[in-house]
C-alpha cells in the first residue's frame, strides 16, 4: 500500500514538473522585451524612485552613568522602513562642525533605531546625522546606492558622571545593610548577646572531624575552583582556618588539594598557622596543601583519584564550584565519607543536597566562619545580615499587596 502511494506521488510530482516548466518558459518568452532589455538602468530617475525617506526626530545625548566617552543616538524609523523594504540599513555619520565633513561612524540594521558612539572624546563637541540607505549589491559590489540623510543634530559632548544614578537604590540598600551590620557589631562589642539560629551543617563540623580522628583517616578540604578574587573562596579560606584548628587539636591530618596557585599559598599559611596555634607545628607538612591543576575537569579527575585511593573519612567541599561539583560529591559519597558542602552557586546546590550529608546553602557559607568562631563581633554581623533580610522581606510583602490591589508604583520604584 505504502509503495503504491509513493509511486502515485512520484508520478504526480513528475506531471506537475512537466506542466509548470514549459508554462514559465512561455511566460518569459512572451514578456515584453528580451532579457537584455529587461535589465534595469540605474539612472537618476531610478535612484530617485528608490531613495528612502530619512529617519526623523534624531536625538543625541550624553550616555548616562558612565565614565564619559559615549553618546547615545536615537531616532524614529524612516517611513520606508519595513513598509516598502526600501531601507536596508542606517548609517551614522559624525562631524566636528555642522557644515563640515561628516565621517561614517557605524551602522544599524533596518528596524533598529538606536546607536551608541563609544568613540566620543569627553568634552569634545560632535554633530551627528543618520542616513537611511537603500542599495543593491552583487558580490559585495554596489549596483546602485541611494540614501536619505536626516537633519544634523548637535553639538553634543560626552562627560563623566560622579554618581551612577541607575544604582541609587542599590546604594541605599547597601547603606542600610552596612549600617545594620555595623550597629550590631558595635552592640556585640558592648557586651550584647544575640540569638543565632542553629545551622546543622556547621554544627556537624566537629563531629565530622571527630569521625576522621576515630577512624584514623584523612580529612579532605576542597576549596572550589575559583581564585582568591572570589568572595566564596575567601569565605572558604576562613572556614578552612576553623576546621584546621579542630583537626590540629585532634591531631588528624587535613589535606587541601587546590586548583589555584594563590589559593595554595593562602591555604598553606592558614593550615600551618592552625597547627602552630594548637602547639603542633611539627605535625604540619607542606604537601598537605598541594596544587593539582587549574583545569576544571583535570582537577575533578585528580580529586576523584585521591578520594578513591585514599578513602578519606571526611570531605569538605566548600567554595565556588561549577559542573565538577557532582563528580566530586558523588565520588565522595561512593567511598562512604561524611561530606559537608557549601557554595553560593545556586545551580550546584541541588547536586550537593543530593550527594552530601550536609549542605551550607548560599548565605550559610558566608555565615559559617562567624558561626564557628563564636566571636561576638562576627556574630553581630550575622544579626545585621538578618536585618537586611527583614528589609527585603518587608519590601517583597508590601510589593505583593500593592500588586494585588493594582498599584504599580512599588514595582517601578524597586525596579528602578
Amino acid at each position: 500500500m505504502i509503495k503504491r502511494l509513493t509511486f502515485l506521488c512520484l508520478v504526480g510530482v513528475a506531471i506537475l514538473a512537466f506542466w509548470i516548466t514549459p508554462a514559465q518558459v512561455t511566460a518569459q518568452e512572451s514578456a515584453p522585451g528580451d532579457t537584455a532589455a529587461a535589465a534595469p538602468t540605474y539612472d537618476s530617475a531610478f535612484i530617485a524612485a528608490h531613495t528612502p525617506q530619512p529617519p526623523f526626530n534624531i536625538v543625541a545625548k550624553d550616555a548616562p552613568n558612565d565614565a564619559g566617552g559615549a553618546i547615545n543616538l536615537t531616532w524614529d524609523l524612516s517611513p520606508d522602513d519595513y513598509k516598502s523594504g526600501e531601507v536596508k540599513e542606517y548609517i551614522i555619520l559624525r562631524g566636528t562642525s555642522a557644515s563640515g565633513q561628516f565621517d561614517t561612524l557605524g551602522n544599524a540594521t533596518q528596524g533598529v533605531s538606536s546607536f551608541t558612539d563609544n568613540q566620543a572624546e569627553p568634552g569634545e563637541k560632535f554633530y551627528y546625522k543618520v542616513a537611511a540607505l537603500n542599495y543593491e549589491k552583487v558580490d559585495y559590489k554596489y549596483l546602485w546606492y541611494a540614501d536619505g540623510e536626516s537633519v544634523v543634530v548637535g553639538p553634543v559632548s560626552s562627560s563623566a558622571q560622579w554618581f551612577n544614578k541607575g544604582r541609587f537604590w542599590v546604594f541605599i540598600s547597601i547603606l542600610f545593610v552596612c549600617a545594620a551590620i555595623i550597629y550590631f557589631i558595635l552592640g556585640a562589642k558592648s557586651g550584647k548577646t544575640f540569638y543565632i539560629r542553629k545551622i546543622a551543617g556547621i554544627d556537624e563540623v566537629e563531629n565530622a572531624v571527630g569521625r576522621a580522628t576515630e577512624m584514623g583517616k584523612t580529612i579532605y578540604y576542597v576549596p572550589g575552583i575559583n581564585d582568591m578574587d572570589d568572595v566564596q573562596t575567601l569565605a572558604s579560606m576562613s572556614i578552612l582556618g576553623r576546621v584546621s584548628v579542630i583537626a590540629a587539636q585532634n591531631d588528624t591530618r587535613i589535606d587541601v588539594p587546590v586548583s589555584r596557585s594563590l589559593v595554595m599559598v593562602t591555604a598553606r599559611e592558614i593550615v600551618k598557622e592552625a597547627y602552630s596555634k594548637v602547639g603542633r607545628p611539627d605535625s604540619f607538612q607542606d604537601e598537605q596543601v598541594r596544587y593539582l591543576t587549574d583545569d576544571q575537569f583535570g582537577y575533578a579527575a585528580a580529586i576523584d583519584g585521591l578520594f578513591v585511593r585514599e578513602k578519606p573519612a571526611t570531605v569538605f567541599l566548600i567554595g565556588a564550584f561549577f559542573a565538577e561539583s557532582l563528580i566530586m560529591a558523588e565520588t565522595g559519597n561512593s567511598i562512604g565519607a561524611i561530606q559537608i558542602a557549601g557554595t553560593a552557586m545556586p545551580a550546584q546546590l541541588p547536586f550537593f543536597v543530593a550527594a552530601c550529608d550536609y549542605t551550607l546553602i548560599g548565605e550559610e557559607l558566608f555565615a559559617a566562619s562567624a558561626y564557628l568562631s563564636r566571636e561576638p563581633k562576627l556574630l553581630g554581623s550575622l544579626k545585621g545580615q538578618d536585618m537586611g533580610k527583614a528589609l527585603f522581606l518587608i519590601a517583597i510583602v508590601v510589593g505583593i499587596i500593592l500588586q494585588i490591589f493594582g498599584v504599580d508604583f512599588w514595582r517601578l520604584f524597586v525596579v528602578r
Binding site: N65, D66, A67, G68, A160, W162, F163, R167, V177, C178, I181, I182, V231, L234, A235, S238, L240, G241, R242, R260, S261, L262, M264, E269, I270, K272, E273, K277, R290, Y291, T293, G298, A301, G305, A323, E324, L326, I327, A329, E330, A344, L349, V353, A354, A355, I361, G362, E364, L365, F366, A367, S369, S373, K377, L378, S381, L382, Q385, G388, F392
Partner: protein, 225 residues
Amino acid sequence: MRREIPIAITFIVGVVFALAYFIPHRPFGAFEAQFGDWFGIIGAFAIWLGALNLMKISFIKVFRKRPDFPFALIIIISFLVMVFFGFYEGYKGLFATPQFSYRDPGTGFDWMYKWVYSALSATMFALLAFFVASASYRAFRARNLEATLLLVAAFFVMLGRVPVGDLLTDWILPTGYTMSSWADWIMSVPNTAGQRAIMIGIALGLVSTSLRIILGLERTYLGGD
C-alpha cells in the same frame, strides 16, 4: 606588620572597589580594570609556584616509591612533554617563514591538546551524566513528604521537557494544561521563587562577609584569628 599591611591593603582596595561601583568618573571607574590587570599579573607569576609544587610533590612520591607513585610518574611525564613541545615549537615558530605559534594546527602541542587533553576533559564531563543518574535516584526516593514533593515535581519537569510528555497528555488535557505547561509552571514559579530567596541570602551574605573582611574583623584568611 605581617598582619597590618595586608589588612590595610584589603581595606583600601575594598573601599575603592565599592566606590568604583557607584562612581563611574575617573579615577574610580578605571580602578576595577586596573586591579583586574594587577591580579592577572600576580596570578601569572604565581602559576609557577603551583607548577613547581606539583613537580616537587610528584618527584618526592616517585623517589620514595609511595604506593601511588605511578600516577605521579604520569604527571611528571605529561607535564614535561607538554612543556617541551610548547617551548620547542614556540621557539621553532619564531624563526620559521612564515612564523607560526606552538598552538597552531599541525603542531605537536596542538595534536596533544586536541587528541589527548580535550578527549580526557570531555570524558570527565561525560561522566557527569552517570553521576546525575545515581544522585537523582537517591534524591527522588519518596522517604518523606519533601522527597515525595521533589519526586512529583521532577516527574512533571522531566516529562514536560521531552515531546513524549505532551504526546501523552494533549489528548486528555486542554491546551495550556499539558505536561510541558506544568513543567514550565514548576520551573518559572516555585523554582524561581526558591532560587530568588537563595540569591537574596547570597547577596546579603556577600555584603556582610565583604564588610567583615574590609573592616579587618575577619582575619582567618590571613592565617589564624
